[in-house]
Symmetry: C2
Subunit: 455 residues, 2 copies
């Protein structure tokens, strides 16, 4: 497993130095290997320990003596296996305290910081670094999700698998990432909290500065039992956790997908100042779905004033609906669609944000051209530079108008236009309803910042 | 637009003959074009009409006189534009009645039957044909979703965009697909129903034979308004629709993604005989999430008997949890994971179905091997044939044991093993919670079949 995790570190293009320590090998994956921490040419910043359980504590002690200030202990066999492991974990804590070491784990997957190409998990992260940090009581959710985030275009800053939290716990990480500059939103996966009061105090302070999303799975009988056997975490009454999250200003979510969706919006966009949303679409079904979802999520889809309708009517064809939802139908004026109409709507004082469906780049046309072996030719090469230019401005609208703009698409970032959007700070959700759910989460966070703690 | 839709038909590899009719061109996309329906060498089975509004009715009349029995009218400008359109639509209906023609539309995208390579929408479907049929009051949901289904591996049989439903409506389609043999589950997208009583009567009969999923978006103020401006559909009180769906035995869903997820499970798997679910995982986080979601969705995660635990303990390592969730942890005995353990669990009378997380094929290892340029070598070529063989049996378990088996994965069908599973009838969901939600829908459908109409 250690070799596998080193492989990922290499894969990720870690920018620092790597010194494998191995009892027998003279090289590991091409790196010169050393016999012990004392043989290294310098004191490393971090010891990453994948060792048989019995020698973890002695080796951590050696690291301490050598002057290493931080360690990640992947090895299991501690608190999570019962009494014998608990004593071993106490010894580990004593060593950490003795040398003042920061220790993540034991029984964890590791830590990633994609801004320096550091990934000690066994999953490759194949995207650019981003602004979402995951702090997780599950190792899986700190790394298996890389395949998912890649598919959808949301990007991660850091991930931490806290494991047994013997020395550093989820709350410490929360404090750290509240100050870490790349992190714009924090996602927490929680099976159980040991110190609810401290969590509430810390989280309440942090959520004023940085949005925090919380997924808690220990509130049902089956969830609590599963968490207990996984990390020895004590789940608890769902209503109590609900109250803590609400008081702390955390955005609670129910699924891992919702956790990532929500963190994406919170990391990227300003919260809307109110709940008045414009549904902008070129397809009736998604328009109706988004409108319906808005109402279900506590968002309004207000009727526009006569003035705003008149402004839109000047630009739109007679087949379009200038009411809200604004349905462009088969409208091919790209400059109107991507620039003039959003500007008119965002510039009005009638809406607080836009959820949009209907962005298409060249994927559809290229696919058909290729499939027909040249029998049909679309004006892709003429249109794409214009789309690119327009979208270059489009992605700046949230900053420019101080209002969120969210896009949804069933094709997502497989398409060049949607990729440009997602890569430049506008989340692209895989369905109209998910875009609306993300907007609703943004609204709730904004409401919290304005001083409302209850819905 | 007509040319675009013909392009898709060609792309899809339609197995029938195509006769373009065009007023000026002598060929269209390489096909000899004809001046009128009367010039064709034979009477076509279907007229697909993309025409200026004004000539739709006269041309439909010509088709009728020529003996054409069925038409799809894509053109808009009918009921959805108000009074003038309504009269035009009445004329269209009279022509259809006069010649006894089956007409889909007007104001629709078209019809797809992937079993004969027929796709008259403007979106390419790049998968094998499947068993889910979508009947939709939105053209978008009958075709834009092809990019989505491809990404996730669910496969479609037919899609119908009913448009204004002047002649053939959603209920007629429902009746037709209840008898259509490729269709194993039907998904309905509904903005509003004109004849609730007839819908209830027909749907109630069909849902006893074939599962039907319903997405209704007209129950909120904003959703109803959007639907009205889209297809002129009258939404209605959400509680009334809820009651109709329940009485009719339809599985109601709230989002397009849930519609597809649910139809996938219903089309592929037998409903569980009860609500006792085994959570099978090799990762603690997804295990806890699935257990938690089960309880939230009304499913139980029962404690196993001492006998069943003992049977599992014989196979599993000491680090594994033989309780429910069954957490294999880092267990590498593939034969046990994919065959012996599922067989023991499904063969017991203690559970009614399995939700599973933790299937990995070669994608992870190939990615790392490539990324490290050969510096590391995994035994992929030795392991993959075994995985393939084991999964060949695994996918038969639902039929063999009469119990559903659902898999979830963040990588999905990008991975070879997960693709094999999805291609052979076991749905693979993009998150643990979605797998559980699909299992819960299956449970509710089974409960309905056993005579329960209320929760």
């Amino acid at each position: 497993m250690g070799t596998g995790q080193l492989a990922t570190l290499i894969f990720q293009g870690f920018s620092g130095k790597i010194y494998p320590i191995h009892p027998k090998e003279s090289t590991v994956l091409g790196f010169k290997a050393y016999r012990s921490i004392f043989d290294l040419p310098e004191i490393p910043d971090l010891a990453f320990m994948v060792l048989p359980t019995d020698i973890v504590v002695p080796k951590l002690e050696e690291c301490g003596r050598a002057g290493v200030q931080a360690a990640v202990v992947v090895s299991g066999g501690f608190r999570e296996v019962g009494e014998a492991g608990l004593e071993r974990e106490r010894m580990l804590v004593r060593v950490a305290e003795k040398f003042g070491m920061v220790v993540i784990g034991p029984n964890c997957i590791g830590v990633s910081n994609f801004h320096i190409g550091m990934n000690t998990t066994y999953f490759p992260y194949q995207q650019d670094p981003g602004e979402i940090t995951i702090i997780s009581q599950s190792g899986t959710y700190s790394c298996h999700v890389y395949g998912y985030t890649r598919k959808f275009g949301m990007r991660l800053s850091h991930t931490v698998s806290v494991g047994n939290s013997a020395v550093v716990d989820l709350i410490d990480c929360l404090e750290y990432f509240s100050r870490e500059p790349h992190t714009k939103a924090i996602a927490l996966y929680i099976e159980g909290l040991r110190d609810g009061k401290r969590f509430l105090r810390v989280a309440r302070e942090i959520s004023q500065k940085k949005p925090v999303v919380a997924l808690f799975v220990g509130g049902t009988q089956a969830g609590a039992k599963a968490g207990m056997s996984h990390t020895g975490a004590l789940g608890g009454d769902d209503q109590i956790y609900e109250g803590v999250f609400r008081q702390a200003g955390l955005i609670r979510v129910r699924t891992v997908e919702e956790m990532l969706d929500t963190a994406w919006a919170l990391a990227s966009l300003p919260p809307p100042a109110g709940n008045r949303i414009c549904v902008l679409t070129n397809a009736g079904g998604p328009g109706a779905s988004m409108a319906d979802s808005c109402n279900r999520e506590g968002l309004e889809v207000p009727e526009f004033s006569a003035e705003l309708k008149a402004d839109l009517k000047e630009i739109l064809p007679h087949t379009a609906s200038v009411s809200n939802p604004v349905d462009l139908t088969y409208f091919m004026d790209l400059r109107a669609m991507y620039e003039r109409i959003p500007r008119i709507i965002l510039g009005s004082d009638e809406v607080d944000g836009i959820v949009m469906y209907g962005v298409f780049g060249s994927l559809l046309y290229r696919t058909l051209e290729e499939g027909l072996g040249g029998r049909i030719k679309y004006p892709i090469d003429e249109v794409i530079p214009l789309v690119r230019e327009l979208l270059g401005k489009f992605v700046c609208f949230p900053r420019e108008y101080g209002k969120p703009l969210i896009v949804s698409s069933f094709w997502g970032t497989d398409d060049d236009a949607l990729k440009q959007i997602a890569d430049n700070g506008i989340p692209v959700y895989s369905s109209p309803e998910r875009g609306v759910a993300a907007m609703a989460a943004l609204y709730r966070y904004g409401r919290y910042l304005r001083g409302f703690t209850e819905d």
